[in-house]
């Protein structure tokens, strides 16, 4: 569980985050949504420990990142997995080497042990047999699955995903969303997804945080989002004609 208390973040005179408080639940897929410029990326970087909040605190199962020493921060970072928007796979390494990378860096396992774990996670993301391929030789959807495998190979407590299904076709996007949700439940991970995809919001939004102008404007989940009377979130989530119809149907109980 990650508890965020009154987080502010400024760059010079400009305040990007203006006091955000929320709780990201363990074993759930927590979504951060909002328009461009709302502060989502800065907030995600604060959660990842890449930016320190100017004010406020972020606690990871009771441990406040800002008050930890360098060793404590490094250990906490090693409990985090991250899936980047563009996958960020190391292009000079094969799929197997990419997934094995966190194990090589942070564990004392033998090569056989590492290989066993790599094959386990590759099988979990349905990529068995792709070990020897390079990132440039596989599709965007497969790259995302490799990125997920790399993020979970070291059994992280926290999984962060930055627009994990951007650039993917709708079918693959749903597959990736479902995969993240299943992995979150199986491993009881605290998963935080920064998303623009309204399908994801309505499919896997077990906890949704809507940011606007650096403030938390709305908080809830996919089962209650259609009932909100907040105009900003209605205009954001249900902006297309299709989603307007979906909301109408939801309100009519269809």
């Amino acid at each position: 569980m990650i508890v965020v208390k009154n987080v502010h973040k400024s760059f010079g005179e400009e305040e990007i985050l203006k006091g955000i408080s929320t709780t990201f639940l363990q074993g759930k897929t927590n979504l951060i949504i909002g328009q461009s410029g709302a502060g989502k990326t800065v907030f995600l970087k604060c959660l990842l420990g890449l930016f320190l909040p100017s004010k406020g605190s972020i606690s990871y199962d009771g441990e406040n990142y800002a008050t930890l020493g360098n060793n404590g921060r490094r250990k906490l970072r090693q409990q985090m997995g991250m899936v980047f928007q563009g996958s960020a796979l190391f292009d000079s390494m094969t799929v197997e080497e990419n997934v094995m990378f966190p194990l090589r860096m942070f564990t004392k396992q033998t090569r056989e042990e590492m290989l066993k774990r790599v094959n386990e996670v590759l099988e979990r993301v349905n990529l068995q047999g792709a070990n020897a391929k390079f990132p440039s030789e596989i599709s965007g959807g497969m790259q995302k699955r490799v990125a997920i495998a790399r993020a979970i190979v070291n059994k992280p407590k926290y999984l962060f995903c930055d627009e994990p299904n951007s650039g993917l076709d709708p079918k693959t996007a749903i597959l990736i969303d479902n995969l993240i949700q299943e992995i979150t439940r199986e491993n009881n991970i605290t998963t935080i997804i920064n998303s623009h995809d309204m399908n994801s919001v309505l499919e896997i939004g077990e906890q949704i945080v809507y940011l606007k102008d650096g403030l938390l404007e709305w908080e809830g989940n996919k089962d209650i989002i259609y009932k909100t009377d907040n105009e900003n979130i209605i205009n954001f989530v249900y902006s297309s004609e299709l989603f307007k119809k979906v909301r109408k149907a939801q309100l009519q109980g269809l």
């Binding site: 890449l50 921060r73 985090m80 991250m82 563009g86 960020a88 190391f90 292009d91 090589r104 860096m105």
Partner: protein, 245 residues
């Protein structure tokens, strides 16, 4: 002001390179990979350029020494001095700024724009140490490249001089040994050591701090080549003043 800021950023990067070392077993593999990419793969161009430039230096010297009072051995003497003092350490380093420097900037820059460096940082890895330190260690072998360049340059000079009929073998070997000052070799290798550090760090800086996309990676490689060359030339002047005057 902008340049001061960049110099400060470069110093911070160097400090980060030597902090929080990467796991030794991983580092060992990275160093061997960089030795292959930066040193071994550069040998081809160094061998080619050194051999032919050595030959050209000899021919040009021979064609300009028309006075019968000047001994022919001076051709070999001039070729030796040019190759050891300037051609191998400096000229080859400028070529390496184009070959190795561009490779370093574009490989690190591509990692930056495709978020691979962010991925390292999120994992708690010191990206500067992981990416740049192995390059610096690999470039410590650069003096060996220059030694090969010196040998082949003189070999090229010998072949061009003797086969071209400008000088006979005995005269060449006499000239080669004439007034040889061993300190000149020390000077050349001290220069080479500093050039190796410049070749490893300045292109790394341009890749590590670059912003933008694919187009900017290309621009960063060009800028990196220009600045590496400028710093090499200035360092060459300062080191020559310090070590030879």
């Amino acid at each position: 002001m902008k340049y001061l800021q960049k110099i400060g950023q470069f110093i911070i990067m160097l400090r980060d390179v030597f902090r929080r070392m990467t796991k030794a077993s991983v580092l060992k593999d990275l160093i061997f990979k960089e030795i292959n990419d930066l040193i071994i793969k550069s040998l081809g161009i160094v061998v080619f350029v050194s051999f032919f430039i050595g030959g050209v230096v000899t021919i040009q010297t021979a064609l300009n020494l028309n006075n019968p009072l000047i001994p022919k051995s001076l051709i070999a003497f001039t070729a030796r001095q040019s190759i050891i003092l300037e051609f191998s350490p400096t000229f080859i380093s400028i070529i390496m700024a184009g070959k190795v420097g561009s490779y370093i900037t574009s490989s690190i820059g591509t990692m930056r724009v495709t978020e691979q460096i962010d991925a390292l940082e999120v994992m708690g890895i010191n990206a500067a140490n992981y990416l740049i330190f192995p390059k610096i260690i690999a470039m410590l072998l650069y003096p060996f490249v220059i030694a090969i360049s010196m040998f082949l340059g003189i070999m090229g000079a010998y072949i061009a001089g003797v086969m071209g009929g400008y000088i006979n073998s005995e005269q060449f070997l006499t000239g080669l040994q004439e007034d040889f000052i061993p300190y000149h070799l020390t000077y050349a290798f001290i220069k080479t050591f500093f050039f190796a550090l410049i070749l490893a760090t300045i292109p790394s800086y341009h890749g590590y701090y670059m912003k933008g996309g694919a187009l900017e990676v290309g621009q960063a490689s060009t800028t990196s080549f220009v600045w590496t060359s400028v710093v090499l030339i200035i360092a060459n002047y300062l080191l020559t003043q310090l070590l030879l005057s």
